[in-house]
């Protein structure tokens, strides 16, 4: 019959697009099941070609002889004397398809019009050929999809947890709290939510400690619950959500659920809350459990499911009044444990480098014992990055020699692309040797690992509340951790775990790791507790209460920061900080920044400090990277370098779009961090705006015109399509690693040759990857708007720079460090600094000051000897820093330099003076001596005035923000500008020579005069200082002595060598503003200065109110109440009058 067909279609060519188009008219019309132009349509024609080839091949080989078969068939049916099924006599594969396609209507129509159609149209043979192919195609797609479904169901059935399905559902239905404990591979994270969903629970939240897990679980579970393309299952993380009103199962981070509880006290939106991985004991998770525990009483209908590894299950059950526990066995293959303690001669002492020999021996042992055809990779656990690179180096030499290993490091400071390599596949005969921190213990799961080497060590962050310092120390791991590491060898087959310690060591390990809550600063936690009205943190029932001292330190710190008042209640700034998902320090910076015209810069710096540094450590030693980075560096401090980097990146993005990837690589930057920054920045901006701290976006002129908007809309549509396409392609196969993979990576990541040297496959992969980041970026942000915003913060004038530094310093305070006085005689790498509680700290090598420490030194030409060991200068500087972290040394990182005297006077919590204010002690540890009493008084007086005004405006703005929805009017722009002008002038043009030193314990012993007797006090009758510091009453300080003038300034409390009476010594002084010329005490003088306004202003004060009152009724409609802060009066003025009024102040001020 085929030869028949060929004869008929002499002019018919299956390969001709025209011919195919004619068939498309019959089978793939606009409303057909498969439409012309759709992906399936394309697939069909590809299928068609294969189908035709298959048919021809079968015909040639003659294996499908129809005649012969018919014979047999007839006999067969006759022979069986049973019921006749009425099957056709002749076999045809067509009979196995349960689908048919009816196209008779069109065929008939075509038949009628055949007369005028050309003879090249499809004949009935062609049509039936095409139909047959279509039927097979439909059948094939059905089989394909059904196969997927069957496989899926089979996999679900094979999970250990499957047998417990009904019991889990029944337990949850009958108990408010259930604990499901199961080890790796039992399937609890993917299955339990599905079981609950399909048994009728409708609003389920499932928390995860990691964002990445939220995304991958949501993806997997939506696939498994056959809702891959719906939104029944979604996730929500910081910047991304797939949640819709139809979402019934939501994966989210612990932190996010806590934020939701802040908004929705009873969590009414959920019926079930599943808290996964509770055994990991993260800070957020422990806290969340505490919050949920107290919430259960208010929400009788709420079901809580805790999921954990089989670690310390009783603890969780007991915490929830003996909640039922369901234990599920894991699915692990047997693992052989080999204890191989490191011999004493190879054990390194603390200061030495790790000896890699024990690790090398294991690689050699594996090569000897296991043939290379037997696959299985090696996972090696070390404590830290330095240890990893030591062992990596040694292993790489061995690997290069044997060509049987690919050595790959894995830790969080690697670029994401580098981290991703551990998932790629080694070529046959070669094993991966992954050298990892404990990141591979829980966060990263690598399949195919057969051998695990466990050093038994971990570096963990601990917190020293006394020095307010983080410490990264090496510890022995816990038994639980050790078992977890071992388990990594048995995920895909039987495995071996080499423990580089003795069994007796193992038995001496702590049973469980120390929960995070006992290791970290609790500032943010306490703040959040306060804002959730959870009462006294000390009496909150935690699953494992943190040390009381830790809580106390946090409360004290929050009070210092102004987030809590003296009674421990939340202040207005505190309640705002509680809602910002960042560190208190960063939050404070944002609030401060919103007051001045520096919001854009502060947003960037705050965002930069909330993500990992974009500067890759590995590129630091690459000279090309260093050169390319140079223009980004700012010797004012690391925040400025980050600011420059971000701004330049945005500029590149605007100009070159996806080209930014290359730009980043050249500079050794992880672009992902910059993407995170831009998202965070936007979130911060929205938060500030929603709290009324920022004006709402004025409609950008560029975006408002119709054409542009439309353009943007079309662009967005395109971008969305690209994103969808990418999502569809995602999860494609893994790459195969090259043998020399481990060797380059580390150091060539910054050079351009990297991309070129790689295989085609890889380049395509990265190209795809770049597109999607760029696409997401463009979808989320309007690049031109962002550029505008960034332009504002680019090329900061020196004045803006000074102000930004001050803001950062106030944000970072009390984290200040003083350069050691002998630094100028030391090498660059040996520069030493001191903080209040920790002496002899050094600058982290990643900081700009590590390479350029001279900028911190007092210039020689500016110094004057002020006595033994005291250099007088007006150029002393301090470092304000974000973190103090002790590893092998205590390191300062993220530093900014600030002028010492000015910064201290403007931000310090405690400033104490002697009688003539020439000696100042700040926070009880920094001593400043000024040469001239005259200058000293002036500086102090100016600082006090500026600070009072700053505080007033800040409070005004925060007060405004608490009245939600109110327009941004708290602080008028002019007033704010006047303040920033004053601050800048003070910062830049104060040229007072002073000495600066750190007080030793000896000095601080007799620092203060101490309380004085009544008679002495009588002497110095407290002057009324209220006009100077509203609300503050100068009263004797009960401890230090002297007069407590403001919350931070105590006058004349320092025990001085000078005579005690200088405070009442009056000296002739002439006021620059008024005609006053008379003898005054220092305090009297400051008082006068604060209340005496320049002549012009005073005049204004008298005139203005009259003008306001005289305004006729017709004018008053145009006037509004204007509060002039200079005159300190409410005036009724029109807008022009306000401007005039302000101008007068400006002129008169000069």
């Amino acid at each position: 019959m085929d030869s028949d067909g060929r004869r008929h279609s002499r002019s018919w060519d299956w390969d001709s697009p025209q011919c195919r188009a004619q068939l498309d008219e019959i089978f793939f019309r606009q409303h057909d099941y498969i439409q012309k132009g759709s992906p399936e349509h394309k697939e069909f024609w590809a299928f068609f070609d294969r189908f035709q080839r298959f048919k021809t091949k079968r015909d040639i080989s003659g294996s499908g002889g129809a005649g012969r078969k018919q014979d047999r068939e007839g006999k067969d049916s006759r022979r069986s004397g049973k019921m006749d099924l009425g099957l056709p006599k002749e076999y045809d594969a067509r009979y196995r398809i349960n689908v048919s396609v009816c196209t008779r209507d069109i065929e008939e129509r075509l038949g009628k019009s055949r007369s005028w159609q050309r003879s090249s149209g499809p004949g009935s043979q062609e049509i039936s050929d095409c139909r047959l192919a279509l039927l097979h195609f439909l059948d094939f797609s059905q089989k394909q999809s059904f196969g997927k479904l069957a496989k899926l169901r089979q996999e679900q059935k094979n999970l250990p947890i499957f047998q417990y399905r009904d019991r889990i559902v029944a337990l949850v239905q009958s108990h408010p709290v259930v604990v499901v404990a199961g080890d790796t591979g039992c399937g609890k994270s993917t299955q339990v939510p599905q079981y609950l969903l399909s048994s009728g629970f409708n609003h389920i939240a499932c928390t995860q400690p990691r964002r990445i897990a939220c995304i991958s679980l949501a993806k997997r579970v939506s696939f498994e619950s056959l809702n891959q393309y719906g939104s029944k299952v979604g996730y929500q993380i910081r910047f991304e959500t797939t949640r819709t009103p139809a979402t019934k199962l939501l994966f989210l981070t612990e932190g996010l659920l806590l934020r939701q509880i802040q908004q929705d006290r009873t969590l009414a939106q959920y019926q079930v809350v599943i808290v996964d991985e509770v055994h990991e004991r993260h800070l957020h998770c422990d806290f969340l459990l505490g919050v949920l525990r107290s919430l259960l009483a208010d929400r009788p209908g709420l079901h809580l499911v805790l999921m954990s590894a089989t670690i310390n299950i009783k603890l969780f059950s007991d915490y929830f009044s003996s909640a039922p526990v369901l234990q599920v066995p894991g699915r692990l293959f047997p693992i052989q444990v080999i204890y191989q303690p490191i011999p004493p001669e190879e054990q390194s002492s603390r200061s030495e480098k790790l000896d890699p020999r024990p690790y090398l021996r294991i690689l050699q042992g594996i090569d000897q014992r296991y043939p290379p055809e037997e696959r299985g990779d090696l996972l090696l656990f070390l404590s830290g990055v330095a240890e990893i690179s030591t062992v990596q180096e040694a292993c790489q030499i061995y690997a290069t020699h044997t060509r049987r290993w690919i050595v790959l490091p894995l830790h969080s400071t690697l670029s994401l692309a580098q981290q991703d390599k551990v998932f790629d596949i080694a070529p046959p005969g070669v094993r991966k040797c992954i050298i990892s921190t404990n990141i591979a213990e829980t966060s990263v799961t690598i399949d195919g690992v057969r051998f695990v080497v466990d050093s038994g060590k971990v570096k963990e962050m601990s917190f020293d509340p006394k020095a307010k310092m983080q410490r990264l120390q090496e510890f022995w791991i816990s038994r639980a951790s050790s078992e977890q590491r071992k388990g990594r060898a048995g995920r895909t087959g039987p495995g071996v775990c080499y423990r580089l310690y003795a069994e007796s060591d193992y038995n001496a390990f702590a049973p469980y790791s120390v929960p995070e809550i006992n290791r970290v600063a609790l500032d943010s936690l306490i703040l959040q507790m306060k804002s959730m009205c959870l009462g006294d943190p000390l009496s909150f029932v935690f699953i494992d209460p943190p040390p009381a001292a830790s809580i106390q330190t946090a409360v004290t710190y929050l009070k210092e920061q102004g987030a809590l008042d003296s009674h421990g209640e939340l202040t207005s700034i505190g309640s705002l900080l509680a809602q910002l998902p960042v560190d208190v320090v960063i939050g404070k910076m944002l609030v401060l920044g919103s007051l001045f015209n520096l919001v854009e810069s502060v947003l960037t710096v705050a965002a930069a400090h909330s993500v990992q540094s974009p500067f890759l450590r590995s590129s630091q030693h690459n000279p090309d990277c260093a050169t390319a980075r140079q223009p980004l560096h700012s010797n004012h401090g690391d925040p400025f370098t980050l600011l420059n980097t971000f701004n330049s990146w945005v500029e590149v993005k605007g100009e070159r779009g996806g080209g930014s990837r290359k730009w980043c690589r050249r500079r050794g930057l992880e672009e992902q961090r910059l993407y995170e920054m831009v998202n965070l920045r936007r979130q911060f901006k929205d938060l500030l705006r929603s709290h009324g701290l920022l004006e709402s976006e004025y409609s950008a002129s560029s975006g408002s015109d119709h054409g542009k908007r439309r353009e943007r809309l079309t662009e967005r549509r395109k971008l969305h399509q690209l994103k969808r396409d990418h999502e569809r392609q995602e999860g494609s196969r893994r790459k195969v690693l090259r043998l020399d993979e481990g060797q380059d990576g580390e150091f060539s990541s910054g050079s351009d040759t990297e991309g070129a040297g790689k295989g085609k496959n890889d380049k395509e992969g990265s190209g795809q990857d770049m597109d999607i980041q760029e696409v997401k970026f463009k979808l989320r942000h309007n690049v031109s708007e962002l550029q505008e915003a960034v332009n504002v913060s680019q090329d900061l004038s020196s004045r803006q720079q000074a102000l930004l530094k001050l803001l950062l310093c106030r944000g970072f305070y009390p984290q200040l460090a003083l350069p050691d006085e002998h630094n100028s005689t030391r090498k660059d790498s040996e520069q030493v600094f001191h903080t209040k509680n920790k002496q002899g700290v050094v600058i982290h090598p990643t900081s700009v000051f590590a390479t350029d420490p001279e900028v911190l030194q007092v210039p020689e030409d500016d110094t004057r000897e002020m006595g033994p060991d005291r250099k007088g200068s007006s150029k002393h500087q301090l470092l304000a820093f974000v973190t103090l972290l002790e590893t092998n040394k205590p390191y300062l990182s993220n530093c900014v330099r600030v002028p010492a005297l000015q910064a201290l006077l403007l931000v310090a919590n405690s400033v104490d003076s002697n009688a003539d204010c020439t000696r100042l002690v700040v926070d009880g540890w920094l001593e400043l001596e000024l040469r001239e009493p005259e200058e000293a008084l002036k500086v102090l007086s100016t600082a006090l005035t500026l600070r009072a005004e700053w505080e007033r405006l800040l409070q005004a703005q925060l007060g405004q923000s608490t009245q939600r929805g109110a327009a941004f009017q708290g602080v008028s722009r002019k007033v704010m500008e006047k303040l920033s002008e004053g601050l800048v002038r003070f910062l830049l043009y104060t040229e007072v020579s002073y000495s600066l030193r750190r007080l030793t314990a000896f000095h601080t012993q007799n620092l203060y005069i101490g309380p004085r007797s009544e008679s002495e006090l009588f002497h110095t009758k407290a002057p009324d200082l209220n006009p100077l510091f509203p609300g503050a009453e100068a009263k004797p300080d009960p401890i230090k002595g002297g007069l407590h003038v403001t919350s931070f300034f105590t006058y004349n409390c320092l025990a001085d060598s000078k005579d005690l009476y200088s405070e009442c010594l009056r000296m002739f002084w002439s006021c620059p503003n008024c005609d006053l010329y008379m003898p005054l005490t220092p305090l009297e003088r400051m008082q006068h200065e604060a209340s005496c306004r320049p002549a012009g202003e005073q005049q204004q004060l008298e005139e203005e109110p009259q003008g306001g009152r005289a305004g006729s009724s017709s004018v008053t409609s145009l006037t509004r109440v204007y509060h002039c802060d200079v005159c300190n009066e409410d005036l009724n003025l029109t807008s022009t009058e306000i401007l005039k009024h302000k101008k007068q102040h400006m002129y008169s001020a000069k």
Binding site: F27, H31, D32, Y33, S38, E40, K69, R72, E73, D76, S77, R79, S80, K82, M83, D84, L85, L87, P88, Y91, Y95, R96, I97, N98, V99, S100, V101, C102, T103, L138, Q142, K143, S145, F146, K148, L149, A150, R153, L197, S198, S199, G200, N202, L226, N227, Q228, Y229, K248, R724, R728
Partner: protein, 113 residues
């Protein structure tokens, strides 16, 4: 609890289950396509296209057992037969099908032993 009320297709032989949205020979929005038996049909969960359907299974034309479309449970040859019925009337099926089934039996036996 809408999900609870959704009709569930369960294969009586292998237990495979999935909710179905349509039972019959003409699933919605399939235009020229007609099924040659009454089927349990759902939206194809593996296709982004909302209109794609997936046949989960149907009733055996002989014994009316609910069977899934998987080749371990049923076979379509002009009609749906559950594999039990196929075995009962093994000799009436064309030799192509017979050899196929025999091969399958062997390989599954090999896998078990």
């Amino acid at each position: 609890m809408a999900s609870h009320c959704r009709q569930l297709f369960i294969c009586q032989l292998c237990g495979l289950n999935s909710p179905y949205t349509y039972y019959g020979q003409k699933p919605p929005n399939t235009r020229a396509i007609v099924l040659l038996e009454e089927c349990f049909v759902t939206k194809d969960p593996f296709s982004p296209d909302k209109e794609r359907f997936l046949v989960l299974g149907s009733l055996c034309s002989l014994c009316s057992t609910r069977v899934c479309a998987g080749s371990d449970c049923s076979l379509f040859y002009t009609k749906r037969f559950c594999l039990q019925c196929v075995n009962k009337h093994f000799d009436q099926f064309p030799h192509q099908i017979q050899t196929e089934l025999a091969k399958k039996k062997q390989s599954s036996k090999a896998a078990v032993s």
